[in-house]
Amino acid sequence: QSALTQPASVSGSPGQSITISCTGTSSDVGRYNYVSWYQQHPGKAPKVIIYDVNNRPSGVSDRFSGSKSGNTASLTISGLQAEDEADYYCNSLRGRPYVFGTGTKVTVL
């Protein structure tokens, strides 16, 4: 069961915007509007930051936004801050259970 494809790393300077892509297939990302994104800091459990493609849970900064086009979902972080340095994973329904992306390390320069 292959993972969704994400870039291994993305970097940006404070205040910049960055976008992380998540490419799947017509059986997962392209089929369902149930893409979520998780932020994981070193040594910590993942935390959901986007769900159902473009919704933010209560308490998550509005600097995080999500979108989807065809088989590719995207996470955009605007106004990049030092605290955004972490690993990010997309997740999609693919029948059951689910499938994660390969993960992207975000570095704040």
């Binding site: 993972a3 998780y38 459990a45 993942p46 959901v48 689910y98 993960g103």
Partner: protein, 119 residues
């Protein structure tokens, strides 16, 4: 407040059995899905299995089918992940997560259980 608390780190020998636990509170246990996620050292997240305590509906990822077993004790709102014969390749952090039925995001996560399998 929903809480998810996992059992502590384990060090085991290859071939040994193991059961780790995930105790939840703050919600109706049977109404939420439970999921187990593996993270091998320095690697990404992988879904192992999801489980619905209400009717014991279970879905294993193909890579983990037959390798682990999920179970639960609804009376103490606790889920378990069990191995009958550990391998060195089972060394990883294991996360328990939960979400309300009907949601497709995983809101609540345990702190993780580190399992080390080494002779």
């Amino acid at each position: 407040e929903v809480q998810v608390v996992q059992s502590g780190a384990e060090v085991k020998n290859p071939g040994e059995s193991l059961r780790i636990s995930c105790q939840t509170s703050g919600y109706t246990f049977s109404s939420y899905w439970i999921g187990w996620v593996r993270q091998m050292p320095g690697k990404g997240l992988e879904w192992m299995v999801i489980f619905y305590p209400y009717n014991f509906e279970t879905f294993y990822s193909p890579s983990f089918e037959g390798q682990v077993t999920i179970s639960a004790d609804r009376s103490i709102s606790t889920a378990y992940l069990q191995w009958s014969s550990l391998k060195a390749s089972d060394t990883a952090m294991y996360y328990c997560t939960t979400t309300r039925d009907g949601n497709f995001r995983w809101d609540y996560w345990g702190q993780g259980t580190l399992v080390t399998v080494s002779p």
